[in-house]
């Protein structure tokens, strides 16, 4: 929030690594792991990037990147165009913003991801119902979330370490 009419400085350079992460996780989301006779998809990794999206950046460039990233994920995952952009943008719009220093750390990152799921999962189910006229495969949905929760701590630690090394800040 602006104080005495002075807006906090926007750090749009943080959008480059975030956008790059969205691009890479979009590619990875097409891959799955087959264990215990089941497919464990990496579908939710791009969503994790959105949940941890930097907050002290411009809303418009963020929205444009999230829209483009969502379309990219739709293409790589063979989904309906518009589904993932809608999920990303609504999550970004609804999730309460916080200062970047409050977002640091494993627990905060995991909390933010789990909180975002309360928006992302219902939107996915609702949009899927509209397009495909059926409920999702609950097993695949749950397994995808489990994979994301297992991988996310490593991604958060990697992000914090890289961010600290690059800027000494976030």
């Amino acid at each position: 929030m602006a104080y005495l009419g002075i807006a906090p400085a926007q750090r749009n350079e943080q959008l480059f690594p975030a956008g790059f992460a969205l691009l890479v996780t979009g590619l990875v989301s097409a891959v799955d792991i087959r264990l215990f006779g089941q497919s464990w998809p990496l579908t939710w990794l791009p969503f994790a990037v959105v949940a941890l999206w930097p907050r002290n950046v411009g809303a418009l460039p963020s929205a444009l990147l999230l829209f483009a990233g969502g379309i990219w994920v739709d293409w790589t995952s063979w989904g309906a165009p518009g589904q993932w952009p809608l999920i990303f943008l609504l999550t970004y719009a609804i999730m309460p913003s916080s200062r970047s220093d409050a977002m640091r750390g494993l627990a905060a990152g995991m909390g933010r991801f789990v909180g975002s799921l309360f928006i992302g999962v219902p939107v996915l189910i609702a949009t899927g119902w509209v397009v495909y006229d059926t409920w999702p495969d609950w097993g695949a949905l749950a397994r995808g979330l489990v994979v994301a929760v297992v991988i996310l701590p490593f991604a958060i630690l990697l992000r914090d370490r890289l961010a600290g090394r690059m800027s000494g800040d976030d």
Partner: protein, 307 residues
């Protein structure tokens, strides 16, 4: 919208506009999404090599786990296989004799073998086969460069997986049998009863349009019937289970998909594409006139019964 930093009225307007654009896109592209026609082939061509590289460690892990499982069962399987081998050798001798007889009869009758399983197969590495909440597809690492085109059946060591629905230069997308949009004509090996295998986005697709209920029992082997003109007849699909009505346990789920085989099978012409004008005779799909009628074409003439 609870945003406090990096915010501006243009940002808010832009965000709302993009949300509405996404929703509009979703509704406008609904039919194409249902037909799985929405992904640009270029995206697949970019994705396939990268995903193949990224999936390498996962595939190795899957292979190692499968090897351990196989090793555990090896002794027991070895004993069973030895017994089967003895039986199959005798069966093989019988089949050779029958094949020779069949070929002679087919030559005699000039049998059309258009719908047969092709002898040639194209081996391709599977890049990924994720089961996402709404889509069951398979990305393979070869496309037009290897002669893979839409409609060709794809199977693994275990059984039929589906058919190619889009083919790029170096990659192709396969619609799996368990995808929501998949429909394949099948038959029971035991009774020859016909049905349509309908994907449900679950592991076990269901049998619909079942004409003969009694012809289907749990445990029946399911094969493609070739009635749809899209798949050759006789490809193994799975086994009927009694869970939740008539559903099918697909063979290809038995093992992780690593290598797949694409069959260069030319599907039969869509009747809608054939322009038939009774006044001027039959016309082939490519617009050329039909070569001959049954009476004039020697290859279509049945031998006359004598005596």
């Amino acid at each position: 919208m609870a945003r406090s930093t990096g915010d501006s009225s243009e940002g808010r307007i832009g965000l709302i506009f993009l949300i509405l654009l996404s929703a509009g896109l979703l509704l406008l592209q609904r039919d194409d999404a249902l037909q799985r026609r929405t992904t640009p082939l270029l995206a697949d061509d970019v994705q396939a090599p990268v995903a193949a590289w990224l999936s390498l460690p996962f595939r190795r892990l899957e292979g190692a786990i499968a090897d351990v499982e196989d090793g555990r069962k090896a002794l027991e399987e070895n004993r069973v296989l030895r017994d089967e081998l003895a039986e199959l050798r005798a069966e093989n001798d019988r089949l050779r004799v029958m094949r020779g007889r069949q070929q002679r009869l087919e030559a005699l009758l000039a049998v059309d073998r258009t719908g047969d399983i092709p002898d040639r197969r194209i081996a391709v590495r599977a890049v990924s086969d994720p089961s996402s909440p709404f889509v069951r597809s398979l990305l393979i690492g070869a496309g037009l460069d290897k002669g893979i085109v839409s409609g060709q059946p794809v199977h693994s060591h275990s059984g039929l997986i589906g058919h190619v629905v889009s083919s790029g230069r170096r990659s192709a997308r396969v619609l799996r049998l368990d995808d929501l949009n998949s429909r394949v004509a099948v038959k029971s090996e035991r009774s020859d009863a016909r049905a349509i295998l309908t994907g449900t986005n679950r592991n076990n697709p269901k049998l619909s349009f079942v004409a003969d209920e009694a012809g289907w029992q749990p445990g029946d082997r399911v094969l493609t019937s070739g009635d749809d003109g899209v798949m050759p007849a006789g490809l193994p699909v799975g086994t009927v289970t009694g869970e939740g009505g008539l559903s099918v346990d697909l063979d290809f789920h038995d093992r992780p998909i690593d290598w797949v085989y694409v069959m260069p099978f030319a599907s039969l012409a869509d009747p809608d594409d054939v322009d038939v004008d009774p006044a001027h005779g039959d016309t082939l799909p490519d617009g050329t006139d039909a070569p001959a009628t049954a009476e004039t074409d020697a290859s279509l003439t049945m031998p006359r019964e004598t005596g």
